[in-house]
């Protein structure tokens, strides 16, 4: 019996789908049997990030409506044999599925997978309600922007009301140089407001744009700093204690270290 984790954020564009694809790949590379569920019905994206768009025959709505069996709709990843994707329908909308149906679907997936990651749509309406319905745990993604943090706070409130007692936080797209100049919210500012456990910090990384366009998650590239951050998050999700990346020295080089020594 596996566990299901919903990846959610409230605000759009903060990197939920990128996070889902990368964590899924990283967990699968560690040997876990992983199913990714794209709950963003009508705005299907997760398949593109994984480069699996051309293999879709059936989708989540087909499974729910009984047009096919679950295992017919699951697509095996082309690089990693224990990673599977259940794609969203592109021609339907969020009302095509109910929370009860999602609960049953995720329960069925948990029987044959170690981890089920559910990629939530933006917003707090039915799509979000569907995505969280079958989840045991939640990971909230935010970026260091006031609006994203406020939406994350709203989502955490909704998750708490639905008895998710310990949602965990990923801070995405942080730019250490801007933080050290005081031009971007730093990690402590965000944690002070949201007050939940931090499971990882992912730096802004050009590799992500390239990997999204090519359908190759960044965790597959050793040179990508974001990829390393996602591998660490995957390890923490499996209960390992991994130190956080030292983003300051990784990006700021000698100057950044000197600035820190002199308290700048």
């Amino acid at each position: 019996m596996g566990k299901s984790i919903v990846i959610t954020s409230g605000k759009g564009g903060v990197g939920k789908t990128t996070t889902t694809a990368n964590l899924g790949m990283a967990l699968a590379q560690r040997g876990a049997r992983v199913a990714l569920v794209d709950a963003d019905i009508g705005l299907r994206n997760l398949d593109v990030l994984l480069g699996l768009e051309n293999r879709i025959v059936y989708d989540l709505v087909d499974v729910v409506e009984g047009f096919c069996r679950l295992r017919q709709a699951l697509i095996r990843d082309k690089r990693c044999e224990n990673l599977f994707l259940l794609p969203a329908a592109q021609t339907r909308d969020k009302t095509a599925v109910s929370p009860d149906q999602m609960r049953a679907l995720v329960a069925e997936l948990k029987e044959s997978f170690d981890v089920v990651l559910i990629d939530s749509p933006a917003g707090i309406e039915q799509g979000f309600q569907n995505a969280v319905a079958g989840a045991d745990e939640a990971v909230v993604v935010t970026t260091p922007e006031v609006s994203a943090v406020r939406d994350a706070d709203r989502i955490i409130g909704l998750l708490e009301a639905q008895e998710f007692h310990a949602p965990r936080l990923v801070i995405n797209r942080i730019r250490p140089a801007m933080v050290s100049r005081g031009d971007m919210m730093d990690i402590n500012d965000i944690l002070e407001i949201l007050a939940i456990d931090l499971v990882g910090v992912v730096p802004e990384d050009e590799h992500i744009v390239v990997s999204t366009n090519r359908g190759e998650p960044a965790v597959l590239q050793n040179s990508s700093l974001a990829g390393r951050a996602y591998r660490n998050i995957a390890a923490r999700l499996m209960g390992e204690d991994v130190p956080f990346l030292d983003l300051q020295s990784a990006n700021g080089g000698l100057l950044g270290r000197l600035r820190r020594i002199f308290g700048g």
């Binding site: 707090i124 006031v146 406020r150 939406d151 706070d153 709203r154 955490i156 409130g157 909704l158 708490e160 009301a161 008895e163 002070e192 407001i193 007050a195």
Partner: protein, 256 residues
């Protein structure tokens, strides 16, 4: 006579209790109450009028509409609007923690008016500045806590959250959202926070907003109160008064 079924009148020793039906809309209730007041005004004897809104969360506008109607129809009354099902409010608002009503009050304090058993409340309306609802949690963006009386929040009030009380608002944490104290017009209400950094403060009919260029953080507890029609902020303990931290604050339009 469908309209009369959604408001029920119970005579009390020194006044009247009106109960609102849980299913009806606020506008239906207001209309039904207006009719009841019009047709049976003689039945509303006694100085006290208690309106039990159940688990309904009334907005400031609704509270003020209700008060205006009663003042117009009955003249001055000791009016109380109470939540008979106070525990349900927080849950419905998404602020509750699912089946832990104890979070609403603290054993060490006298029970707050909304949490008092209904029977006791009908005989002895509780009005007093010493009573407060204790809420032990962080109020997050999109959540609204309303309270008849004063409220003490042990936790933070985040940006995008609202706390509305007819008495004082005390935040033992950071207040970064909106707080409205004295929501039914009490101008002597106060807003107190360990870190007072709200987007907006309302006290009675006055509105103060955060300056567009926020001043440096104060690490001391502060209190906001109304002086000469303007909301001023000063350290909680010290005597020396800091000039109003909100230079832009002005006497707001009375809401309603």
């Amino acid at each position: 006579m469908q309209a009369q079924t959604c408001v029920r009148r119970h005579p009390l020793r020194d006044g009247t209790l009106v109960e609102f039906d849980a299913a009806a809309s606020f506008d239906e209730l207001l209309a039904a109450l207006a009719r009841l007041l019009d047709e049976e005004a003689h039945a509303f004897a006694g100085p006290n009028l208690i309106i039990d809104v159940g688990s309904r969360v009334l907005g400031t506008d609704q509270l003020l509409d209700l008060e205006a109607l009663i003042r117009r129809e009955l003249g001055p009354r000791v009016l109380q609007i109470v939540n008979g099902e106070a525990d349900d409010i927080l849950r419905e608002d998404g602020a509750g923690d699912g089946g832990a009503p104890a979070s609403l009050r603290d054993g060490g304090f006298p029970p707050a008016a909304p949490a008092e058993p209904a029977a006791g409340r009908r005989d002895r309306p509780a009005v007093g500045r010493s009573e407060a609802v204790i809420l032990r949690r962080t109020v997050r963006s999109g959540q609204r806590v309303t309270c008849d009386g004063s409220i003490v929040i042990i936790g933070d009030v985040n940006p995008g959250a609202e706390v509305i009380a007819t008495g004082d608002v005390v935040v033992l944490g950071s207040l970064r959202g909106m707080a409205h104290a004295g929501a039914r017009g009490r101008i002597d209400a106060q807003v107190i926070a360990l870190r007072l950094e709200p987007v907006q403060i309302r006290i009675g009919p006055c509105i103060g907003r955060r300056p567009d260029q926020p001043p440096g953080r104060s690490l001391r507890p502060e209190v906001a109160r109304v002086l000469d029609g303007t909301i001023v902020v000063e350290p909680l303990a010290g005597r020396r008064r800091r000039p109003a931290r909100e230079p832009g604050s002005d006497r707001g339009e009375p809401i309603g």
